[in-house]
Symmetry: C2
Subunit: 240 residues, 2 copies
DNA sequence: ATTCGATAATAACTTTAATCAATATGAAAT
DNA sequence: ATTTCATATTGATTAAAGTTATTATCGAAT
């Protein structure tokens, strides 16, 4: 077992033994963090790169009106932007959703790691490109998908991403995301999300009960979502 | 005069004479492109990096229903993702909006340029981070801003970005974007956008007539938008 | 076992934006 | 000057999603 971070990078590039061992070293400083803890806040001067080793987190922004927009979900293996240190201040915050284990890699170490090790660089850049593709998919969802399509699309995305890192047990997935949080990520109200979830349950495509996502009919869900996984840049089918 | 590309990079990092001269060489292959020409399409295998030297372009996606979502606007000096070549296929398309002049930099040349020249690398990475911040701002707009706030926010963004590259003549800006295109970028219908533009005109904050954006009352517009330029990562005020 | 607080579910009502349908306007081409 | 086409504007109607309010459920703590 590599751990989720190295595991993820290995799906994006071939890593040498040395590279893996260096990555293990670099993330050896992992520490436990409680749920709902801000790893970094909008306006802060960026520090080291965060790497999620266990648990979930999200990027978010708070608007003047006090509403929140969730910008991305981070799962085990995910990290924040590798060149974040180039910026003077963060334009968004990152908060844990569940209790988590988080490693940090200092910018200098990261630079050194990537300069000397093309495999690591390639894997990190690919991960970044996938994150960007995901942002584009979110913009598309928000702009042009109906609420039911949008919810279905996010569930497809989260299911696939979770499956990539072995978090699923076939049609089930433990999604530690409250309806409030999901609503804040989908640009809708919790009340409306709740209605849409009922609608999705009634179609028989999926159900989300408490923290348990069951994809009862993957093809139906994909069809509702208009889901095309190409933006995740993995040749992996939702249905085998 | 450096041209918009080098000009932009110089705002993000100090470039040596040699770096600038190499960048000039790398973009010497610029060619003219007509308006509404796809530089690359979703599903294509990515090729070289595109650099806009003149004219505007946009990234977009077409949904199964045939609707379009514009994901970003590219102005002179902007380029597409530098590591794009790592991906097997594009997850979106890029199309010129106006007649344009576009240079291309082969991946190998780009890698070499960035490997040996930290200034170029730093500037390119910073540009990428700003693009990501912009995507996050768009997600936030789509998810949590009302339509009038959303329109005002985009106008603030475009005005500031255009001003950074010297495209404005004080309160005016030539915005070669039809209401249809703007609507596709804002996740709304052209009809509704038209009504919102009227509303904005009536507040006295700004008016958009044909291709001419006039920001009559910058402070009012900023206030309506809830605009905080931090995501553009430049210490520049909309009002001096 | 009971209380508490967070989360979820549902209903009634209001607001916002989409849809459908005409018209109008303006620039370019003849 | 007139035609043409894309773009923009406006109105009437419908549909989608937000708001407010109430109640239900569940797990954790006492």
């Amino acid at each position: 077992m590599d751990g989720p971070f190295i595991g993820k990078l290995r799906r994006f590039a071939t890593l040498t033994r040395e590279e893996m061992s260096l990555l293990r070293e670099a993330t050896a400083n992992a520490r436990k963090v409680t749920a709902r803890h801000d790893l970094i806040r909008e306006g802060d001067r960026p520090g080291p790169v965060f790497v999620m080793l266990e648990g979930w987190a999200c990027r978010y922004k708070i608007l003047p009106s006090g509403t929140r927009q969730v910008l991305a979900f981070l799962m085990p293996g995910d990290s924040c932007d590798l060149h974040i240190g180039l910026l003077a201040e963060m334009d968004h915050s990152i908060q844990t959703i569940t209790p988590a284990v988080v490693a940090t890699i200092e910018r200098a170490d990261m630079d050194q790691l990537m300069d000397g090790h093309r495999g690591v660089a390639k894997a990190m850049y690919t991960a970044q490109l996938v994150d960007e593709g995901t942002m584009r998919a979110w913009i598309t969802s928000m702009g042009r998908r109906t609420s039911i399509e949008r919810v279905a699309h996010l569930m497809c995305e989260l299911y696939l991403r979770a499956r990539n890192i072995g978090l699923t047990s076939e049609p089930y997935l433990t999604l530690p995301l409250s309806q409030l949080l999901l609503a804040d990520s989908l640009g809708m109200t919790p009340v409306h999300l709740n209605r849409v979830l009922r609608e999705l349950r009634e179609t028989g495509a999926m159900e989300l009960h408490r923290s348990r996502l069951v994809i009862s009919d993957p093809n139906k869900l994909i069809k509702i979502a208009g889901f095309d996984e190409n933006y995740l840049h993995r040749r992996l089918r939702l249905v085998a």
